[in-house]
Subunit: 158 residues, 2 copies
Amino acid sequence: MDAPRWLDAREARAWRGYRRMRRLLDLELARELMQDAGLSEPDYDVLSDLSETPDQRLRLSELADRMLWSRSRLSHHLARMQQRGLVTREEHPSDGRGSIVVLTPAGRAAIEAAAPGHVAAVRRHLIDLLTPEEIDALAALTQRVVDRLSGRPTATEG
Amino acid sequence: MDAPRWLDAREARAWRGYRRMRRLLDLELARELMQDAGLSEPDYDVLSDLSETPDQRLRLSELADRMLWSRSRLSHHLARMQQRGLVTREEHPSDGRGSIVVLTPAGRAAIEAAAPGHVAAVRRHLIDLLTPEEIDALAALTQRVVDRLSGRPTATEG
DNA sequence: GCAATGTGGTTGACATGTCATCAACCGTAG
DNA sequence: CTACGGTTGATGACATGTCAACCACATTGC
């Protein structure tokens, strides 16, 4: 209950800017991705992670962890993608509970068709607007924040 | 169909870091806000914008524009917040179509109770982890991206 | 072998966001 | 005053995300 340390003008500018960028960039990238490739961002992320894996297949829980998704969310989403023929499920060879998510040829085709345009959009709306110093600063700063958030369980002390 | 310019290692680090931070930071801030104050982030944003306004009231469309929300989304969300007694609607005095969103005493109490903790969380998980230079860099870079995105309609040429 | 407990994944109920549509309303032209 | 095009906000249908309950299987201890 101490007097709260509000954000000063510079801090507030950074915080507001971040949130505004987040919203606008998200909307625009999602819009272009859907228009150009018929994929949502979650679709793209699933396909992208799967396609970067040696056998184009991952255990559901492993994929969920990489994406920072709940298993439930991934399961629901995979059901929809499966209906569209982008992925399939296979049984785990040794663990009867496990589910293996596999990229279908159609899924591979979809990500390969979508990737160049999406990367170009990321460049056009973000990366290419930054100086090399800013890119490094962004990488460093986000890394630090991520490490804190994923490292500790929940630091509750001041 | 030109050879796509993929992201190089440094660019990819920044892009992945940004997206990971975004997800983790969002989850954590939302979690704490809900736990400590019983508000979702959208709730907080609505209350915050309203409370910063002279008469604690704004026209729906004006509020939607500030928040970068669609009128539909805001209308739905206000219906839920109204049921919880956080806001009310009034008729616009001169424009019969208009709807004025008003902060209730309960709404004001809610934002005043929530704000210190939320700001502290923003500090703890983001702001206080950055150097002054990084804060300025973040402000500058997000501002630039936002300006591009909100300025032009949709630049489609390379 | 078998109960007790833990883990992986699915499912349904529900909260939230989006889109399309609609009715009421404004401003202006006739 | 009427007609018309555009705006405002509400609403219903639908897509998506979350939470909690659940089932099947795995693991452990006896």
